[in-house]
């Protein structure tokens, strides 16, 4: 009797140990690729990240040096275009889902947004290629920004909806009971209370599309020089990395590594900003 009890006890201990080990190893497996990627980028790219990289146009094949300033600026321009379309549509759509509409229509819209979130990003490139590029007979920054914004909209919509739903009903009631209209209550009370969460969603969406390459292949196309008009092809960091990485030249490979390092650092910084913004989130409700 005694022996059997002790035996069971040991077996339980083993099971418990096993479970926590598996969990630990899984956690390690999650972190490993990230550290490996970062390590590789630093080793291969850090040497080429210098002042020239941020200030000079790409050098012709064979010529040493050169940079990616046009691609960095191009990426920022594309993000601005994408944000100009994607942020208002996504935020207002999310507010609509959370505050208006009937339950049935909203669940349909929510489902569609989730499906959109799952669509491979190259599809958006093809869609915009068909809708805009073919019709206007040319690749352009507008087309690239539109493709990116279409990826952003469902992302922002869903995060906005979630944080707006987190705002306690008491605040809506308090505002309405003061004789404030529904619209003003939503803008000045609900969205203001949820603003940190909404901004977080926007930043994460920008970080996500900032690294997108596929949708830009058919739309923004890339450009080795400065873009002088948004209706012309424009360079973007991920596109430039792609072009350089598949090239046969060692110089370009080094530039691609540097570009990737800059891009990943940028995304990393945005995530850090998000962490800082959402710090003490539990205390401030949303």
């Amino acid at each position: 009797m005694h022996f059997e009890r002790a035996h069971r006890h040991t077996w339980r201990k083993i099971k418990s140990g096993l479970a926590s080990t598996i969990a630990f190893v899984s956690a390690l497996l999650v972190i490993t690729p990230l550290s490996l990627v970062f390590f590789h980028l630093v080793v291969n790219g850090a040497g080429s990240v210098n002042w020239d990289f941020f200030t000079k146009l790409p050098a012709p094949v064979g010529a040493a040096g050169g940079g990616m300033v046009n691609a960095i600026v191009g990426s920022l321009e594309l993000l601005a275009l994408a944000g100009a379309i994607g942020i208002p549509v996504g935020v207002l759509g999310g507010v609509y889902l959370a505050e208006y509409g009937s339950a049935r229509i909203n669940s349909v819209l929510r489902f569609l947004a989730d499906v959109l979130n799952g669509i491979p990003s190259i599809t958006w490139g093809v869609v915009v290629y068909g809708l805009v590029v073919l019709r206007l007979k040319g690749f352009s920054a507008y087309a690239g920004g539109l493709a990116l914004s279409l990826i952003m909209i469902p992302l922002i919509l869903r995060t906005t909806e979630e944080v707006v739903l987190l705002v306690p009903n008491g605040y809506r009631e308090a505002s309405l009971a003061l004789g404030v209209s529904r619209w003003k209550t939503i803008v000045h009370i609900v969205m203001k209370t949820a603003s940190k969460g909404i901004i977080t969603g926007i930043l994460l969406a920008l970080a996500r599309v900032g690294g997108e390459t596929a949708p830009l292949l058919f739309t923004a196309f890339g450009n080795r020089f400065w873009n002088h008009s948004l209706s012309q092809p424009i360079a973007a960091l991920p596109l430039q990395i792609f072009t350089y990485a598949i090239s046969p030249y060692d110089d370009w490979h080094r530039q691609a590594w540097a570009g990737a390092l800059v891009l990943v650092t940028g995304v990393f910084c945005v995530n850090v900003i998000v962490r800082i913004l959402t710090r003490g989130r539990a205390a401030s409700v949303v």
């Binding site: 309405l176 003061l178 004789g179």
Partner: protein, 282 residues
């Protein structure tokens, strides 16, 4: 009717400053009524929450609504400023007259009803993104008042009326949520008073507060009734006895009895009222 429809911020702002809300009635034998509720029934979907209630609510007095949980107390006072409409699929029958004007006519904007009939909730809910001062004047600001001097005057006046001025006058820029529970509730009262309503509805305003904070709110209610008609829901019968002039007892959506508080508590007409007040159920 005109009053309800064409109310502008100027009217809310200017008209009711420093004057009693309602002139005394010509006929002194009948107390003036702020609300006249006639055959009011309210449904949430298929469920009837209020069943054919008829009562008058006296001006410049405190009316307490008592009754066991689920008896329709909250629904009833929310119907007095149309807040119950926030729940989808509500349906109303009967009339609610505020100073003789029907709140439920088609062309009445609920926002304007709510400017005239303010509300304080069970859980204090100062806006977390705003300072103490911003919380008090937010109703005026969002209704279009821009005049800084006026806002500052109203800020101080409302906080004084809510007996909170002395405690927060040096901390007006601090977040509203930094105050204690009782102070937050008084801040919410100040916020409701700042838009100069005629009536103050209170939905169990003390149920989340400790006894000392409760005593302060009760004292405040007593002082406020000189200027406002107050309707309060309470679970606490001793509180109803302390603060109210009239008490209405609700049970399963029906009004069982309404009368002067002293009478309801000492000599109720209805058997159910007596059973509830003596604690036989509830």
């Amino acid at each position: 009717m005109e009053n309800l429809i064409v109310t502008t911020p100027e009217r809310t702002v200017m008209e009711h400053v420093d004057q009693p809300v309602e002139p005394p009635p010509a006929d002194e034998s009948v107390p003036a009524c702020t609300f006249q509720v006639k055959n009011l029934s309210i449904w949430y979907g298929e469920k009837r929450a209020i069943d054919n209630v008829t009562l008058d609510i006296a001006s410049n007095a405190v009316t307490a609504i008592i009754g066991p949980s689920g008896c329709g107390k909250s629904t009833f006072i929310r119907a007095l400023n149309r807040m119950h409409e926030l729940v989808p699929k509500t349906r109303v029958e009967g009339t609610v007259l505020l100073q003789g004007e029907d709140l439920y006519l088609n062309d009445v904007d609920p926002a304007i009803v709510r400017r005239r009939v303010g509300m304080v909730f069970q859980k204090s809910n100062p806006f977390p993104t705003m300072s103490i001062g911003e919380n008090v004047v937010v109703g005026l600001r969002l209704n279009g008042v821009r005049d800084r001097k006026f806002l500052n005057e109203r800020l101080e006046k409302s906080l004084r009326m809510a007996a909170l001025w002395d405690e927060v006058k040096d901390d007006l820029h601090k977040p509203g949520t930094s105050l204690s529970g009782g102070q937050q509730q008084r801040l919410c009262i100040a916020r409701a008073l700042a838009v100069e309503p005629e009536v103050l509805l209170m939905d169990e305003p003390c149920s989340a507060l400790d006894p000392i904070a409760t005593a302060k709110i009760e004292e405040l209610i007593y002082e406020l009734k000189a200027r406002y008609t107050i309707v309060t829901v309470t679970h606490n019968m001793q509180q109803a006895g302390r603060i109210s002039d009239y008490t209405a007892f609700f049970y399963i959506g029906r009004l069982i009895e309404i009368g002067p508080t002293t009478k309801i508590f000492t000599n109720p007409t209805d058997r159910q009222t007596e059973d509830y007040i003596t604690g036989r159920f509830g």
